[in-house]
C-alpha cells in the first residue's frame, strides 16, 4: 500500500460516491452532471491506480476516458434536449452549439 493507492481509494469512496448519488436521483439533466463529474473522477482514479501498481500501460485507460467522455456527454445532451426543434422565443437549437473554432 503506497500513497498513490491510498489516494485512489479515498478518491473512489469520497469522490465517486457523491457522483453516483447524484446520478441516481432527480431529472435527467441533473443525473448527467453526476455522470460528467464521475468521468473526471474515474480519469483521476485510473491515473493514480496506474502509478500505484506501477504499470504505465494503465495510463492509456485514462487517456481513452479523457477523449471519449466529453463526446458521450454531448451525445446525452443531444438526446435530452430533443433533436433541434426550434422553439418560439429561443434561437434555433443550432445556435446553442459553441460557434467557431
Amino acid at each position: 500500500m503506497n500513497a498513490w493507492l491510498i489516494s485512489a481509494s479515498v478518491l473512489l469512496a469520497a469522490g465517486m460516491g457523491p457522483c453516483l448519488w447524484r446520478a441516481c436521483r432527480g431529472d435527467p439533466a441533473q443525473r448527467l452532471l453526476g455522470i460528467t463529474l464521475g468521468s473526471a473522477v474515474a480519469i483521476a482514479a485510473s491515473l493514480l491506480i496506474a502509478r500505484g501498481v506501477e504499470r504505465t500501460s494503465y495510463v492509456d485507460v485514462a487517456l481513452v476516458l479523457a477523449v471519449l467522455s466529453p463526446a458521450g456527454t454531448l451525445v446525452f445532451c443531444r438526446c435530452l434536449a430533443g433533436a433541434g426543434r426550434p422553439r418560439a422565443g429561443n434561437a434555433p437549437a443550432g445556435r446553442g452549439r459553441t460557434e467557431g473554432s
Partner: protein, 107 residues
C-alpha cells in the same frame, strides 16, 4: 530526492482536494444551475495538478508529456461540456412549462 518527493506529494494533495471539493459541492448545492459550478474545479485545477504530480514523479521524457496531454484534454473539453449541459438544463426547464429560465432561476 526529498524535494521532488515533497513537491509530488503537495501537488497530489492539491489535486485530490480540488476533486473532493467538486464532489462535495455537487452533493450539497441545491438547484440545477448551482450544481453546474461544481464541475469546474475538478477539471480546471484538480486533474491538472494531479497530472503535474505524476509528470514530476516520472521525470522528463515522453511519459510526462502523456500525463500533460490528458490534463490538457480534460481542461479544454470541460467548459464546452458544461455549456452544453447548461443549455440542456435551460431547455428541460422550458419544456416543463416553468416561466422562462432567462427571467428567473428555478428553485
Amino acid at each position: 530526492m526529498e524535494a521532488r518527493h515533497a513537491v509530488v506529494l503537495a501537488l497530489l494533495f492539491g489535486g485530490l482536494a480540488m476533486l473532493l471539493l467538486s464532489a462535495v459541492a455537487l452533493l450539497v448545492l441545491p438547484g440545477p444551475y448551482q450544481r453546474l459550478h461544481a464541475l469546474a474545479p475538478a477539471t480546471s485545477l484538480g486533474l491538472p495538478l494531479l497530472c503535474l504530480a505524476l509528470a514530476v514523479d516520472t521525470g522528463p521524457g515522453r511519459s510526462a508529456v502523456k500525463f500533460l496531454v490528458i490534463a490538457a484534454l480534460a481542461a479544454a473539453s470541460s467548459p464546452v461540456v458544461g455549456i452544453a449541459i447548461g443549455r440542456t438544463i435551460v431547455e428541460s426547464t422550458l419544456e416543463e412549462g416553468a416561466s422562462g429560465a432567462e427571467s428567473e432561476p428555478p428553485a
